[in-house]
Symmetry: C2
Subunit: 431 residues, 2 copies
């Protein structure tokens, strides 16, 4: 099959998948979980082959770690599927119901988006997570994994496909792509792919965003800020800075820049320096920071950098508005925090910071689908439309308008012989 | 100012516009309505100049009609602004509220998208409508109108800008672009423009969609279908076909193709033919249609054509599933209707037709924001994400996550010393 044929097959399957009942989808998920556990040996053997090839190709050790799919990872994905079964079906929810006139009722009902194209790098567990999220939300999926995981991905995709189709899912709903040329083709297939979800490095996500007309759900940079207001509690500010930077350093919701109000800088910076350097954090400061604590000079480049390591840039600002301007200029619209005891400062910060997630007196690291209670996480989006911040299953659905009448035409309304009632209804769509 | 500077100015203004209160925005709208009425003479004179130039350039008469901005149009846009003032503010609505743990509360709150780029053709009233919709929803706007309306657009934009800035709106929130080169630049300014709303011909909208990485809200084709099921009431089916095709022929929600179940074709087609030809509709049918009524042969091209005139294509199908397959193949995801007395047929049609608007026993012409009771209409979208079908003000907003704590860090949750409650809250975000 050509890539185009695969996308076409996924599109056809998506129509029938969209019509599947919640029970049918949950039964298919249960069958997939069983099959993954049952086919353990085959899957681990495939992964061993990938690991062997990767070692022969001198793959760096963090990549090897991501590539590894062992009993722990298998148990995790099976657990993930089981909790997914327990989540409410995001499809078929009536979002609004309106009587347009007696006997003419309008409903807005959630439905799947259609075909999701997912491009992920080395982690094979991502294949299981994303394909089961698509299944639960009734979307067909085109998957392109890292070439170094080709054997593991084939094994996983085969197990998922077989178990789900046997459980009644339409053939073709899951398609595995394997080459870089496939990805290039995917990017231009806006007729058959409705949404791209790229998971991987910043450069990779940026490349996808810049080279496709298909909408992209995701984020490139995560340059998160904490602003320590004039009215901050120094103890809270230090604890939040340490947790935001150090709790897990290589993630998009980790802190990269600390903005400090000039009037609190002398009280805050020395305490923060002690706490952060104790945790091994290298600090880089603006000139005013360096008049208070001894750190390296931060450059313009620092404000634009997502370190993803134990480095933190610090800038002293004269006002909350200067902090906001810095965030809106250099930030990536991900997660930004104000530390203050003054409600009106928090209010102004919330009103003016243009980011997906804005926090008052807590760590940037809370910015996460599981912590938010969304259940499963599709990813984190810095888009300005559709879905923003941590995205749960409802980021994989859209809605359809359903109008139910009994022969009504528009002419009498246009001619003034009939008029609309536009009365809210308190019932879900009957079909 | 360069186009880039204008977009940058709009972006800066958008931050402050997003923070405006409902009262402030409504007061600005009222000031705009007053100013438009007050500056009547200046606006009509500008339009007279455009009309004069258009006549000298031999502009076609339908274009002249669209270009005309007279007292009736002025009264319409002023009425539109007044009803806009009465609508609820789409910004600042709490969509969900969750206690993550005692004293750590998460809110999802609606906010403006940011900067909307609107490209419209000759109708100057579109300038007023779209800029006031943007104002109400707290978005800055870059406007590019038709070059033949340059004087009218300048006059309208100047009046709206002056009145709104005087009423407290941030300078730069509305920017008027004038050249084709400006549009080209707009399409690549994804840093400062968050959403494009193109209004105009299919080719024009398609061009915008194909040539920008910025998300586009809108629709190109509107190829709407009515399927007359085996269990249809012939009288209803004829009335719906006539209204859908003829009530207003040059619009995206008008009917273009009639699909007829073979078992009802002999009963339905002659009656439909009589009613439709009486209204001046030219019919084109498939071979099976032509065995029953005398009409021209429809070609493959017909199934893909949005006529926007009194032409209707007809195809006889063997089953509901064949009708669905035709719609999902040739349709544009706009509005599709089933006429049937059998609930299970409607059920299957609703489950399988992948369109923004699906109707049972009523005219395609109901597919419209005002008829749906949405108040103001931004446009009709055939997108698969963000907003679908007729889009009201809520298509111009997105949401922000707001987390309010008291110094919480993630470490204790990650270390198992604390756990999340994820309890739904019944209160709006306090800031």
């Amino acid at each position: 099959m050509t890539t185009h044929d695969m996308a076409k097959a996924a599109k056809n399957a998506s129509i029938h998948l969209a019509a599947m009942s919640t029970d049918r989808k949950n039964a298919a998920l249960a069958a997939v979980a069983d099959a993954l556990a049952r086919e353990r040996e085959q899957i681990l053997a495939a992964n061993a082959a990938d690991l062997q090839a990767a070692k022969e190709n001198d793959l760096a050790s963090p990549l090897l770690k991501r590539l590894k799919f062992d009993d722990k990872k298998l148990a995790d994905v099976v657990d993930g599927i089981e909790s997914l079964i327990g989540l409410p079906d995001p499809v078929g929810q009536t979002q609004s119901a309106t009587e347009l006139d007696a006997g003419l009722n309008l409903y807005r009902v959630t439905c799947p988006i259609g075909v999701i194209g997912v491009i992920f790098e080395s982690r094979p567990d991502a294949l299981v997570q994303i394909s089961t999220l698509c299944l639960k939300s009734g979307n067909a999926v085109l998957l392109k994994g890292g070439s170094e995981a080709v054997n593991t991905n084939r094994a996983l995709a085969a197990v998922i496909t077989e178990a789900s189709v046997e459980a009644g899912l339409p053939e073709g709903w899951l398609q595995l792509l394997e080459t870089r040329a496939d990805v290039q083709e995917m990017l231009s297939m806006d007729e058959n792919i409705d949404l791209l979800v790229p998971r991987g490095s910043n450069e990779f996500v940026k490349y996808i965003m810049d080279n496709s007309n298909i909408p992209v759900l995701g984020h490139a940079d995560g340059i998160c800020h904490a602003y320590v207001d004039a009215a901050a509690d120094v103890g809270k500010a230090v604890a939040i800075a340490v947790d935001s930077k150090c709790q897990y350093v290589a993630v998009c919701n980790a802190l990269e820049t600390l903005l400090v109000h000039a009037s609190i800088a002398e009280a805050f910076l020395p305490v923060a320096q002690a706490a952060l350097t104790e945790r091994g954090v290298e600090l880089r400061g603006c000139s005013r920071t360096r008049q208070i604590i001894e750190v390296d000079q931060a450059t313009e480049e620092d404000w634009r950098t997502e370190y993803l390591e134990l480095i933190l840039s610090i800038r002293v600002v004269d006002s909350l508005d200067d902090a906001v301007a810095h965030i809106n200029t250099y930030g990536s619209g991900h997660t930004d925090v104000i530390v203050t005891e003054a409600r009106q400062s928090a209010d102004r910060f919330f009103a003016l910071v243009d980011s997906g997630d804005i926090f008052w007196n807590c760590s940037t690291r809370f910015s996460d689908g599981f912590r938010y209670g969304l259940g499963a996480e599709v990813g984190i989006s810095t888009n300005k439309i559709h879905a923003r911040g941590p995205v749960g299953l409802d980021g994989l659905v859209i809605y359809q308008w359903r109008l139910i009448g009994n022969g009504q035409t528009v002419a009498p309304y246009a001619d003034g012989e009939a008029s609309f009632t536009h009365k809210p209804l308190d019932a879900p769509c009957p079909l």
